[in-house]
């Protein structure tokens, strides 16, 4: 009996292992906060700041989430252009992870707020949304 069991066990285990590996790589989420945690944080922090108070920050980075074509027509001095569709790109990771205050600006408030939520859930700190 033993001889027939070994291949069977190997088949079952390998099918299972295959499933595990597939799902492991398919959707591993980098979101660090749960839905309830982000709700709490979003409620308790006041992340929206007025245009006039921009000067209160020391060496802020102004991040403009609009598409490049709008950015090129007109943008604020020293602003960095990171289109919303590219904010998860690796090249910006260092920027978001740095300690400097990061001020987010977008075409409309909805997009800026969403970007704040997403970046906060990824564990980045010192993010603010500029009120238009």
């Amino acid at each position: 009996m033993k001889s027939s069991i070994k291949p069977l066990a190997i088949i079952i285990i390998s099918i299972f292992g295959f499933l595990i590996i597939i799902s492991h790589y398919a959707d591993r989420s980098k979101l660090k906060l749960s839905a309830k945690e982000i709700q709490l944080i979003a409620r308790s922090t006041n992340y929206t700041i007025d245009q006039k108070k921009l000067n209160e920050f020391q060496n802020p980075v102004l991040i403009d989430l609009r598409e490049p074509k709008f950015f090129n027509i007109d943008h604020q001095e020293k602003a960095v252009n990171i289109p919303l569709s590219e904010i998860l790109n690796e090249e910006y990771e260092n920027l978001f992870a740095s300690e400097t205050p990061k001020l987010i600006q977008a075409h409309d408030q909805v997009k800026a707020n969403e970007a704040w939520m997403l970046l906060t859930q990824l564990g980045y700190k010192n993010l603010y949304v500029v009120e238009l």
Binding site: I5, I12, I20, S23, H24, R28
Partner: protein, 200 residues
């Protein structure tokens, strides 16, 4: 992320096909373990054969550990996995009746299906009997309805009830099971019945 079928909303037909395949695995494992023999099953209560104890607890432990690890590696959403709902009275009364049924009939529904598949006539009788039992319950349901539905605690976990983590609970269950395996093997020697064991 698992569980695959509810999360990815897989079609009914594929769901049933998977049910069938899982059932084949279930039946195969039960039969190979010897659960198709009523005297082997009953042996557990007289100590001469503790296969049931070993298989039952090994299976539960493997699944338990597997679920803890799957959960840890974020491969399964334990919020979706079904946790049996606990109605204090009905679980205990039902369990007691099932216990008597187990020792009288020598099977439980799953093993009787498996035994009937290999031609055990007593298992077929048992299957017929359980249909009668379910019918009786259905017909007299109005008598039990109140007892059946009181003291509802919801899908509560033992670890939650004791206030410890799932992992620690799994460890405690394993420790208890290892102890039981040891007792089981000791009992098999003490209450040895070579005449029965040879027949099975």
């Amino acid at each position: 992320m698992g569980p695959v079928i509810p999360v990815y909303e897989i079609s009914q037909e594929l769901n049933f096909l998977i049910a069938f395949i899982i059932g084949i695995g279930f039946g195969f494992a039960l039969e190979q373990a010897g659960f198709s023999s009523s005297r082997k099953l009953a042996g557990m209560f007289y100590g001469y054969d503790t296969t049931v104890l070993k298989v039952f607890f090994t299976a539960a432990i493997v699944a338990m550990i597997g679920l803890v690890f799957l959960n840890y590696f974020e491969m399964i959403d334990m919020g979706i996995v079904y946790v049996n709902e606990y109605y204090i009275n009905s679980a205990i009364i039902g369990g007691v009746i099932m216990g008597v049924g187990f020792i009288v009939g020598g099977f439980c529904p799953g093993t009787s299906v498996c035994a009937a598949a290999i031609g055990k006539i007593d298992a077929m009788a048992y299957l017929g009997g359980s249909l009668i039992g379910i019918f009786l319950f259905g017909e007299t349901y109005s008598w039990w309805e109140k007892v059946y539905n009181i003291n509802y605690l919801g899908g509560i976990k033992l670890s939650t009830a004791l206030g410890i983590s799932d992992g620690l609970m799994v460890f405690l269950v394993i420790a208890a099971a290892v102890l039981m395996f040891w007792v089981g093997e000791w009992a098999e020697k003490k209450f040895k019945r070579p005449d029965i064991s040879k027949e099975l």
